[in-house]
């Protein structure tokens, strides 16, 4: 059985959803990790969940990024451990510099809470290897600051994993819910072991919640981690 760690910051509110999905839907080990913890020993994958850590004060993720646990998250990630940041977790990862760019206020200035379509751009990562490039996932978003921005230099080398698209998979202006540059919904670091995404896979992993496309992300992580270590290769991009 694998062991997942779900980091809990003051103001996280999707931590229990992630815990539930890992533990009860996928039958894997899962523990909450309080943000003051200093060790992530024994975890196979660390999830930074959604929410409003520190009330989103100053900038989203700006204060959580200095939580004691983040030093261990950085160490864990640099040693090749899988880190998944969802929504506020994504915002914390960019503030921490573990992923490039920044997440700004939605261009509409509104909090957007709805189902969107995203298409898979890179399936050569531990998080997406069970999908095909071009696959379309139906998945919910719920954020006020999901407008991804990166400098032209960063964009050139960006390892884009998901882009907002319409139901047919076309990447259009209309299908972009927050003004993200180039419709970006999720990115990985060049090594491919840190994924940050605004949509919530944990909110669509059971039929009763209206969709199961989010399962693909968790199933990819689990099947990748269950491979013998010698076969698991993290490729380098960019």
């Amino acid at each position: 059985m694998l062991n997942f760690g779900v980091v809990v910051f003051p103001g996280s509110n999707c931590d229990h959803d992630c815990y539930h999905v890992i533990k009860h839907v996928f039958d894997q080990g899962c523990e909450f990790v309080w943000h003051e913890e200093k060790s992530l020993d024994g975890f196979d994958c660390v999830i930074l969940p959604g929410g409003f850590s520190y009330g989103d004060y100053l900038r989203t993720g700006a204060i959580a990024r200095f939580s004691p646990v983040m030093k261990s998250v950085e160490k864990f990630a640099l040693s090749g451990g899988l880190v998944l940041g969802i929504c506020n977790g994504f915002q914390i990862l960019v503030e921490a510099g573990l992923l490039p760019g920044a997440l700004m206020k939605n261009s509409s200035l509104k909090f957007v809470c709805k189902w969107v379509s995203i298409c898979v751009e890179n399936n050569d990562t531990p998080f997406t290897h069970l999908m095909k490039v071009g696959d379309i996932l139906r998945i919910p978003i719920a954020h006020g600051d999901g407008n991804y921005f990166a400098t032209p230099d960063d964009i050139k080398n960006l390892n884009v994993i998901f882009r907002y698209c319409d139901k047919e998979g076309r990447i259009t202006y209309e299908s972009n819910p927050n003004g993200s540059i180039e419709n970006i919904a999720g990115i990985c670091n060049p090594r491919g072991n840190i994924l940050g995404m605004m949509p919530h896979p944990e909110r669509c992993s059971e039929e009763i919640l209206g969709g199961e496309d989010g399962r693909l992300i968790f199933e990819s992580i689990i099947s990748w981690l269950e491979k013998p270590e010698s076969i698991r290769k993290i490729k380098t991009y960019g």
Partner: protein, 99 residues
């Protein structure tokens, strides 16, 4: 009962001759970044008849009271604070004013 705590200078902290400064940090989005909030306010101003307004950009003002040896030293420390926490260098610029 009111209890007051006093900091003794030249004591444990080794702070001598500390002066108090008011420091204002302006944090603004970089000029290349679109500011939808500023744009919305600009439209509202135009609707009120203030058509002379050409551009509106919205930022943050962070005011701090700082005790330090000198204004230079204080500024140096505040610059560090801005780079670390108060501003995001990817999207924001900052200006420090010391009084």
């Amino acid at each position: 009962m009111i209890v007051r705590y006093y900091v003794t200078y030249g004591g444990k902290n080794g702070i001598t001759m500390a002066k108090e400064f008011t420091v204002k940090v302006e944090v603004k989005l970089k000029p290349v970044i679109l500011d939808p909030q500023g744009k919305t306010v600009l439209t509202a101003l135009h609707n009120l008849g203030y058509n002379e307004v050409q551009e509106t950009r919205i930022g943050k003002l962070i005011e701090m009271k700082i005790k330090d040896e000198s204004a230079e030293k204080a500024k140096e420390r505040v610059q560090e604070m801005c780079r670390k926490l108060l501003a995001n260098p990817v999207i924001e610029d900052f200006v420090i004013k010391i009084e």
